[in-house]
Amino acid sequence: MAGDFALTQTAAKSLPQSEVEPQIRAFHRRIASVLAILAGLLFVAVILGSSIGPVPVPFDKTVAIVLQRLGLDTGIAFTAREALVVDQVRLPRVLTAVLVGAALGTAGTIMQGLFRNPLADPGVIGVSSGAAVGAVTCIALGWSTAHRWMLPAFAFAGAMASITLVFGIWASGRLRSISTLLLIGIGVNSLLSAVISAIMALAKNEQELRGIVFWLQGGLDARTWEHVSLIALPIVLGIALALVYGRDMNMLLLGEEHAKSAGVHVGRTRLVLLLLASLITGTGVAVTGVIGFVGLIVPHLLRLIAGPDHRLLLPASALGGALFLVLADLVSRVAFQPHNLQVGVVTAFVGAPLFLFMALRSSRAGVH
């Protein structure tokens, strides 16, 4: 494989074999510990989110109900009412938050890595605003009440239409560089937000306007198991495929020429990752509306903790995004009881100061 001269033959004597073992162990240990801690925290957050609410259910009973759904009998007794509240009301909502948070966290990491820009978020190439235009159009036409899947279908179609538009413009240009794509994304995003403003200005009545604003702020209210099963497959599959590209993403972070000379098929890899990130983001926002800051903050924060290796960072930001959104949803439900805040408002409240703090103090967070 190494041809005529292998490095190992030239100076094999100078290195005791045992010297690299700690290095490898440390790498494996770091991956295992970061992912285990995040997964543990996520489980705790899911239980918290399923147990706290207007009808409190004790933690042990919540665990028992959740495990029963997985087919495990714990022997802890719970009432049918408690089971109904946890299993039919809260768990689907929490799991929607898990899936959408994971999608946004992963997509944010992909976008920030591909654009080598810490300000990139999942919506950087127009997916979220495309979804918003689709959803807002659907509401304005009064079709959102016709069928419960009408709104998500419109939102998803809008997301796909807008990335088709962005890629179309990109492909027609002479210079197909990644920075051009970023500029096209900014342009299309402003165009689409103008479209949204226009539709809102033309809203027929107060209720319609309220529906639009609600969707634009993102929410997890009244999500059902049907929502969960609708988005689970594309999001889980999309994230799993993205994880395969962890090492390629590391190479791309060094720069296009570095990646190319290391054997990365740069054009193809970028396209696949952009499509995966857009797919999972589009799927997520289709059922929850636009939820900001998750895909911006989570990759930042985890890069500070876990370093820039995307083989760890990608799965970590999937777990971290899920964790962040589940907790934000919990806060949105309990902070101002009996009033509910929109979860997108909470993520912004928590996210914006966190972002400012990180921007001021971190040199590890990324590009400068």
Binding site: A12, L15, Q17, S261
Partner: protein
């Protein structure tokens, strides 16, 4: 001698600006080839074409007889390693992580670097002399240290052909000697190296063969003592130079004595005087 890497009739144009014109170059197994020439002569562009990073407007590059354009990127990377001039990295990978990235083309998609990959990376770091920097962040290193880390990464790639763009430009003289003799020792074990160099004396000491370029063309090529003539240096660099044999290092040395007055260069400022903003124009040239 059969060429391991060869470029034939390479031309490269950006819009209507001619960067390279009809360049032929070949390097054999065990050869250390230096690319020399003034700024803007097209050396780096030629190197990037050899590495397959940019496509020439005309001409072909072959590696062991195979057309570079028909090869998969990963197959090229298993044979050819390229060290760019710009080694700036924005994300704070550790030196270890960077050097291990050199193993990328040898690893299957789902694999992580194993024991052997770590050993190879450790050896590469040791040979270049950056082993002690292993746990440091690449963003905390000086330009010279970074350059050496990327040379170690290229060695960890175990290439048969090393392409280096000004590999010693940011290094102190001690490290310049170390890196160039390391590359030379690799070629003596059978590797091929092509390096863009600016120091004529170091090039003469370490390279087997030199290509002297000017204005996108090769103006002279051959062993150092054949390439370094007063006429060739005057043509390429527009300097008056003395060429001598230096017994201390058993090599040809060049001493630049002064810039040559060029008729077309004298005409340039006069033309610029006629433009509306002479100051800005002269500054940007």
């Amino acid at each position: 001698m059969e060429a391991r890497i060869a470029a034939r009739g390479i031309s490269y144009q950006v819009s209507d600006k001619r960067i390279l014109h009809g360049v032929d170059l070949a390097a054999a197994r065990g050869e250390f080839v230096g690319l020399l020439g003034p700024n803007g002569a097209g050396k780096s562009t030629l190197l990037r074409i050899l590495a397959g990073l940019i496509k020439p407007s005309m001409g072909t590059v072959t590696i062991d007889g195979d057309d570079l354009r028909a090869m998969r990127p990963v197959d090229v990377a298993r044979k050819v390693a390229y060290v760019p001039q710009d080694t700036h990295v924005a994300f704070d990978f550790s030196v270890w992580e960077i050097v291990l990235m050199g193993r990328h083309p040898h690893l299957p998609r789902f694999a992580v670097e194993g024991k052997r990959d770590h050993e190879i990376a450790a050896l590469a770091m040791e040979q270049v002399g950056v082993r002690h920097l292993g746990d440091r962040s690449i963003t905390s290193l000086s330009g010279g240290e970074r350059q050496m880390v990327f040379i170690a990464k290229a060695l960890a790639q175990e290439p048969q052909i090393l392409l280096l763009d000004e590999p010693v430009s940011a290094l102190d003289i001690r490290h310049q000697l170390h890196v160039l003799s390391l590359v030379r020792s690799y070629t003596e074990k059978g590797a091929t190296a092509i390096a863009v160099l600016h120091d004529l004396n170091l090039a003469a000491r370490f390279c087997h063969r030199l290509y002297l370029m000017a204005d996108g063309e090769v103006t002279a090529q051959g062993p150092p003592d054949a390439v370094y003539t007063e006429e060739a240096l005057a043509r390429s660099y527009r300097v008056r130079a003395a060429v001598r044999y230096d017994p201390l290092v058993d090599s040809t040395t060049v001493t630049a004595l002064g810039a040559l007055e060029e008729p077309d260069e004298r005409a340039e400022p006069e033309r610029l005087q006629t433009t509306s903003e002479p100051h800005e124009s002269t500054r940007t040239t």
